[in-house]
């Protein structure tokens, strides 16, 4: 499979309970990361539209539901507006492409996703791309990746996401070197 690198080896051995917990921890990370990301006005929707998170891949671990729940509980939004979550399965490529052409603020690739991040990037250059595994950063030009190994979920962040103008992660993340790996 072209994108098997999205699935960390350790996660393959996880039980269904483990996978759901990985999903909950990832959703919590992402909720915090939204608060730590700045978008230029040009990269935000018009006031009449909701900012969007597009989730790609077949549902598998409750990530989407967890993220919806956390955003509702925390009241966290983008640009002061409530976030709309759109989920597209692997078979929904046409709809997914259309959604990306509308420039969502965040695109999240589930570990089951067979969407190609490089191709999707061409559709939406100013979205924050979030996925799984180190290769998502090193080979697939992603911005943020979750890495599950040694019974923990940790963050890997592309340095570009900290230095570009938009979307830009708050530099305070780079000070958390003990919990975040930054890849140049």
């Amino acid at each position: 499979m072209l994108l098997s690198g999205l699935t960390p080896i350790a996660a393959k051995n996880a039980t269904s309970d483990d996978k759901r917990r990985i999903g909950r921890v990832q959703a919590t990370y992402l909720t915090h990361l939204i608060n730590l990301t700045q978008w230029n006005k040009d990269h935000l929707p018009t006031p009449s539209q909701s900012p969007k998170i597009v989730i790609l891949g077949d549902k598998e671990n409750g990530f989407t539901e967890s993220l919806e729940f956390l955003l509702e509980q925390s009241g966290i939004g983008i640009g002061g507006n409530k976030i709309e979550i759109l989920h597209f399965r692997n078979g929904d490529k046409i709809k997914a492409n259309a959604a990306l052409e509308n420039k969502p603020q965040i695109v999240f690739f589930l570990s089951s996703s067979n969407y190609d991040p490089k191709k999707m990037r061409e559709l939406s250059k100013h979205s924050l791309f979030v996925g799984n595994g180190r290769k998502f950063i090193t080979e697939l030009k992603g911005d943020i990746a979750f890495n599950y190994s040694r019974n923990r979920v940790r963050l890997i962040i592309s340095k570009l996401a900290l230095t570009r103008r938009s979307p830009k992660l708050n530099s305070q993340i780079s000070r958390l070197r003990s919990v975040v790996e930054i890849i140049p």
Partner: protein
């Protein structure tokens, strides 16, 4: 046991039927179970550091908050302490069902759990960052010495019921596990000040800093000043004094999966304590030698050959004119002496995770405690060194193995003196001489050096998606208790997405304290003994080095249900059967067979975004050698309500009910009436990280008695209505 099982079955049927109807509907609509939603709320409060340390596959007995945990667990967070107007960590145990938390004089806190510990002795294991803090000499915990500033406290996990297979000896009626924060989580400065209307004061200052990207430190100081309170009779309690403490922590990430922690603290406390001398001089009772007659009673009965003077001159200075004690109207005598304690410890921990998911930690602890019980003339210096290795790793998809071993070396330097009232000539039959220097507690030539070796293993097995079985055992060999095997089995079964049933069997052991085992107690003097009628003779009893460990078989059943993510209800039932249980207090340390049965019902309800309710009820019944115990309240209850009046203003209401009981005594049992405590308070979380709290405590009752050291204290302290101002600032 039958009653427990029947009650449990009926409750399960009732509630399962009640809740079953709505359970599937809700879970399908969101795809998340109520337990998962509740966990998401908790995760949302974690920072990146905590998230990166959250284990995905938890180990039973390690991760206390997982909903499948087959144990009765209560977790106290720092905000549970500050929002409820508690000063010390131990005060917050009043919010834990099954825990009996009481005050003696101003600096004395007593905690017992699940009706099995007599009046004062803590028969559960308390650990602070992995360090056992139970004082083996008397089997007690000094809660002031072991407390930490609120800003560095991460959580207190209270596990009701024995956890011997992992925690080991002394985790009999439960485990209290205190965990402090990583130094990276206490960066900057914080101050906490608490002032009570009686003048009692607590001040804490914490400073944290960063040395490099992966190296953090903090240091802290705290000062607690006690003002003088009253005894229940209205007399001065002479409990003013201070407790001061300072500590540090250094955390360094050596590489991506290897962490080093070094921490330590020094505590010093200066207070006075009393020894009741009222019923310690006796007249020989020829009709019943086992029931000597208090000397003043003998005087009142004009019995022959009374001493002259009736009371030795050294004793007369301890008289409290105009005060009597006990139903016999005995004149009151008491002796106050200094009770200083200096305590220090240092710990180091290396922890990591290997590539094959073996999560491990290696910890070393060194302690030096210098304790002087001036009122009984007994002091000791304790040096202790501990080495502890723990590890766990998944084995395949269904097994998770935890294992470890530990070594301990403890040595004591014990010293005794006769306190001033006891310095009068007494004939010592063991030496055939007159002596004025016989101490109350005589450790003599008993052993002062003890080693302990322990190991444990536990396997958590996912039998299927619904059932988790945990099997394990602890093995110990120590100079104090010999060898023991302490097995445990715990099972958790998920009825559906909202209901978890669990059950457990454990065998647990408690060591006799060193006083109980090795210390000769000379608790009185007797006159007119046929051995030498014209002299005072000591009344004493020998310690019992052959005392076996208390051995408990514990059976537990529990039900945990979340009808929604906002409501958690838990029921825990237990039956303990204990052999060789030791109950301290003169005249002798006796062993008994004790059976204890009871349960707790607790709930946590977030009624809305602005209203949070928590509460619990506990019932317990104990029999010692077939006789009903009355030293533990049968019923206790607590209810706390936090109502957010505005985003930054919370109104707190707390109710605590404690049933009646009796403080046991050989001559002066004190009945404690039931009491209802109402606390009200406001907490204002102002701008710039200021938090200001104002509380009124014990508002229904201007003063009541709760507890005292039986047969050491003369009478309980008066727990008074107090008003408290707390100010916290982070900057």
């Amino acid at each position: 046991m039958k009653i427990i099982v029947r009650t449990f079955s009926v409750l399960i049927c009732l509630f399962a039927n009640l809740l079953n109807g709505q359970s599937l509907g809700d879970s399908n609509s969101s795809g998340l179970s109520p337990f998962e939603k509740a966990e998401l709320r908790r995760l949302l409060d974690l920072d990146f550091l905590d998230l990166s340390r959250t284990p995905i596959r938890g180990v039973l007995g390690y991760e206390q908050e997982h909903w499948k945990n087959p144990a009765s667990v209560h977790v106290i967070r720092p905000e549970d302490i500050s929002l409820n107007g508690h000063v010390l960590m131990v005060d917050s145990f009043r919010n834990v069902a099954g825990m009996h938390t009481t005050r003696g004089v101003g600096y004395d806190d007593f905690v017992t759990m699940r009706n099995f510990s007599g009046s004062a002795t803590e028969k559960f294991l308390t650990m602070v960052d992995g360090r056992e803090v139970l004082q083996l000499m008397g089997g007690t915990i000094n809660w002031t010495t072991e407390d930490v500033p609120l800003a560095i406290l991460d959580r207190v996990e209270i596990i009701r019921g024995p956890g011997a297979s992992i925690w080991g000896t002394n985790s009999v009626s439960g485990v209290v596990n205190v965990v402090t924060k990583h130094a990276a989580q206490t960066q900057g400065d914080s101050v906490r000040l608490i002032i009570e209307d009686d003048g009692t004061f607590l001040g804490e200052y914490v400073h944290g800093g960063q040395i490099s990207d992966d190296t953090f430190y903090r240091f802290w100081v705290r000062d607690q000043e006690y003002s003088e309170g009253k005894l229940i009779s209205g007399m001065d309690a002479r409990d003013d004094g201070y407790a001061r403490k300072a500590g540090f922590r250094f955390d360094k990430e050596l590489n991506a999966d290897l962490d080093l922690t070094i921490a330590g603290a020094f505590a010093t406390r200066r207070v006075e304590h009393v020894l009741d001398l009222t019923a310690r001089l006796f007249y020989y009772n020829a009709a019943d030698p086992s029931s000597p007659i208090p000397i003043h009673l003998a005087d009142g009965l004009s019995l022959p050959n009374l001493p002259s003077p009736l009371i030795p001159s050294s004793w007369q200075g301890s008289a409290v004119p105009g005060q009597t004690l006990s139903a016999l109207g005995l004149p009151r005598y008491q002796n106050y002496e200094e009770m200083p304690q200096d305590a220090s410890h240092l710990r180091a921990k290396l922890s990591g995770i290997t590539e094959n998911d073996l999560e491990w930690s290696l910890s070393g602890y060194a302690e030096l405690y210098d304790t002087n019980l001036g009122h009984v003339g007994h002091s000791w210096e304790r040096e202790e060194f501990d080495l502890d290795f723990k590890a766990n790793r998944p084995i395949g998809d269904r097994n998770h193995l935890a294992f470890g071993f530990s070594l301990r070396h403890m040595s004591l330097d014990v010293d005794e003196i006769a306190t001033p009232p006891w310095r009068f000539p007494v004939f010592d039959p063991s030496t055939g001489t007159l002596r004025s220097d016989i101490p109350i507690l005589d450790y003599g030539t008993s052993p002062t050096s003890f080693d302990r070796y322990a190991g444990f293993f536990q396997n958590s097995i996912d039998l299927n998606d619904r059932t988790v079985l945990s099997l394990g055992s602890k093995f110990e060999d120590s100079d104090l208790t010999g060898s023991s095997i302490q097995p445990g089995a715990r099972l958790s079964y998920a009825l559906d997405q909202r209901n978890i049933l669990w059950g457990a069997y454990s065998r647990a052991y408690r060591q006799a304290s060193l006083v109980e085992k090795f210390t000769k107690v000379s608790y009185g003097r007797i006159w007119n003994h046929p051995l030498l009628p014209g002299r005072w003779l000591p009344m004493d009893f020998e310690s019992d080095p052959t005392l076996d460990d208390e051995k408990m078989d514990a059976f537990e059943l529990g039900w945990r249900t979340r009808p929604s993510d906002k409501l958690l209800i838990e029921i825990s039932l237990y039956h303990y059967s204990t052999k060789n249980a030791i109950f301290s207090g003169p005249p002798v340390y006796t062993t008994s067979d004790v059976k204890t049965t009871g349960g707790e019902l607790t709930f946590d309800y977030r009624a809305s975004h602005s209203w949070h309710l928590q509460g619990g009820y506990s019932y317990s019944k104990g029999k010692k050698d077939g006789v009903k115990q009355d030293d533990f309240p049968e019923s206790m209850a607590n209810l706390s309500s936090h109502l957010n009046l505005r985003d930054d203003l919370t109104f707190i209401q707390s109710l605590y009910y404690t049933g009646d009981r009796t403080i046991p005594s050989a001559y002066n049992p004190i009945p404690i009436d039931e009491y209802l405590r109402l606390d009200l308070g406001f907490v204002w979380q102002a701008k710039d990280n200021w938090e200001i709290g104002l509380f009124g405590r014990d508002l229904l009752d201007p003063g009541h008695a709760e507890n005292m050291y039986n047969d050491l204290d003369v009478e309980p302290g008066r727990v008074e209505r107090t008003f408290l101002l707390s100010i916290t600032k982070k900057f």
